[in-house]
Symmetry: C2
């Protein structure tokens, strides 16, 4: 009985508390600045704000329960820069160079010789087999933990050739704000990228606030082994298991997330099927494409680019009224390090 009275009394106190908090939150909301300060006012920003308002409005016709607020983002070219070459490719080449002193035989063997000498043509001449070999040597033959440390050590020292910043600084400030804005509205944010899942997990949490279990990516075979002292370990094998790109993206979403997202962001034809899949579901949906139009602050490329080609997805986006983010026009700031 005493407990019941105490609880009832607490309930009343809580009601007051909630009222006070609501007043505070309302005041705070008015006082608060723009949740997307690095986005210029315009159609793209407005489309995002409108979509989030629609799906979060309690009792509204487009309301989406919090559990179903799944948002997926491509990484390269959507969350961070992918030019002049994918960051993970730079890592792979740097890793080969770092290992070269232990492999004198590489001085005479392609594609290693080409890597050490910076001879892109010699590497390209070895074809798919050569590239697969470079990936295997740089990404396999070690435990998953040793690989994560290798990536972290590399990220701490490597610098982008043009911007002279560590690669995690090449994350787009407007997208970091967008991810935080979505999470503040009870979205669960995922990366769905063609990049290696174990590569991205090293920086996704600190750079984007996305925990390892919300990173979906390409992966190699991993085997469970007992080490010499009986310690269980996971060892990365030189064999590709899953390519999370193009039609692989909706497959990866189904495999890892198990439900259809309501918002997807990409920047290239590698994101086309993911955007199609997300838009084909029922209810309110959002598809966004980053169009790289700013050679001054970042890069300008689309239909004919070898990296991040945007052609078919652009046509469908235009035809269907998906949101195209024009980097030059829509982003007030691209990188946090800009003056």
């Amino acid at each position: 009985m005493v407990v019941m009275i105490t609880l009832l009394s607490c309930a009343r106190r809580l009601a007051v508390v909630v009222l006070v908090m609501l007043v505070c939150i309302a005041t705070d909301a008015r006082a608060q600045s723009d949740p997307l300060p690095s986005w210029n006012d315009g159609a793209a920003k407005q489309a995002i704000l409108d979509f989030v308002a629609r799906v979060t409005r309690d009792g509204g016709p487009d309301h989406v329960p919090t559990a179903a607020r799944i948002a997926v983002f491509d990484n390269d070219g959507t969350l961070w820069a992918e030019q002049p070459v994918y960051v993970q490719a730079v890592f792979a080449l740097d890793r080969i160079k770092a290992l070269a002193p232990q492999h004198p035989e590489w001085k005479k063997t392609q594609p290693y010789k080409g890597v050490v000498e910076g001879d892109a043509k010699a590497i390209a001449d070895t074809g798919e087999k050569g590239i697969a070999e470079l990936l295997a040597v740089s990404h396999a033959g070690m435990t998953t933990e040793a690989f994560a440390k290798t990536v972290a050590d590399w990220l701490a020292t490597a610098r982008h050739p043009r911007f002279r910043q560590s690669y995690d600084k090449l994350a787009y400030q407007p997208q970091i704000e967008l991810l935080a804005y979505l999470r503040a509205h009870q979205f669960k944010t995922f990366i769905v990228s063609g990049g290696g899942v174990e590569f991205m997990r090293v920086f996704a949490e600190t750079t984007y606030g996305i925990p390892p279990e919300q990173v979906v990516g390409s992966s190699g075979v991993v085997s469970f082994e007992l080490g010499a002292d009986g310690t269980p370990q996971l060892v990365k094998q030189p064999k590709i298991e899953f390519v999370d790109d193009g039609p692989g993206k909706p497959v990866g979403i189904n495999r890892f997330i198990g439900r259809r997202p309501i918002l997807a962001f990409g920047n290239s034809d590698g994101d086309h099927q993911m955007l199609q899949y997300v838009m084909a579901g029922p209810g309110a949906r959002f598809a966004g494409i980053v169009h790289h139009t700013d050679s001054t602050r970042e890069y300008a490329y689309d239909r004919s680019s070898k990296i991040g080609q945007l052609d078919k997805a652009w046509d469908e986006a235009t035809a269907k009224g998906w949101t195209i983010v024009d980097m030059k026009r829509d982003w007030r700031k691209v990188f946090a390090f800009e003056p």
Copy 2:
């Protein structure tokens, strides 16, 4: 300036609010009953309570940040009953029977004839090829959404042969409480099971409070296709892609979760490597094994069982002092439907 004063005033009001809330929470905690009421007091329950207290104690030597509080649970035999036969196998056989009228040729073809006639020996005689065929026919050739509906419809009507309850009622009440208790202490709870991921996701959220993106399991190949009307869809193919059992469990954990859990619960040798992997990490760790010792309320089986064999993992658990939950002794109640 006005905004600043408003915010300061709010900050003061919030301090009062937080104080009031803390009093309420403290009162509530005293008033609250046992968080694990279906567990008998004993070593197993105490080990769980002690572990959670250790890893959640702020500033304590074993404190684990909330993001790293990952708990993984096997499903069959750990979260719900797996006798007299795996639930998913019952589903597969029922599905074949339901499809039989559309396949008159099955009357003369094994293993289908055996399924329709309930002739287990005839099915077994077709070997792995026959079993693979049954799995393919019952689990593939349809979209992921159609499959989920098939499972949901089946679950709504199928009944366990002994308990005459729908299969979701065969979830263990003490484990449902344990999952909720862990989540209340900021653990993220995952299923890591040999069962099919798309089968489990249908009931995991309502039965265990575990959302689809936190279910790790075996999977078949899924392909992205554009339907006749151009609608994108994911179609289940008759090919196994990943078996999340034995050494596949730590591999699945690495692939889907991307960090080593600090707590794992299993019941059979299929969970052995997962338990080893979890216990091999640094800091405080917990390994639990459900030992089926209660033929009256559930089933009693271990070393020589064809389903859920517990042999090698039991030996290691005994040698290393992992927590063995004796169902008969440690669980006050097994199923919620018990009187």
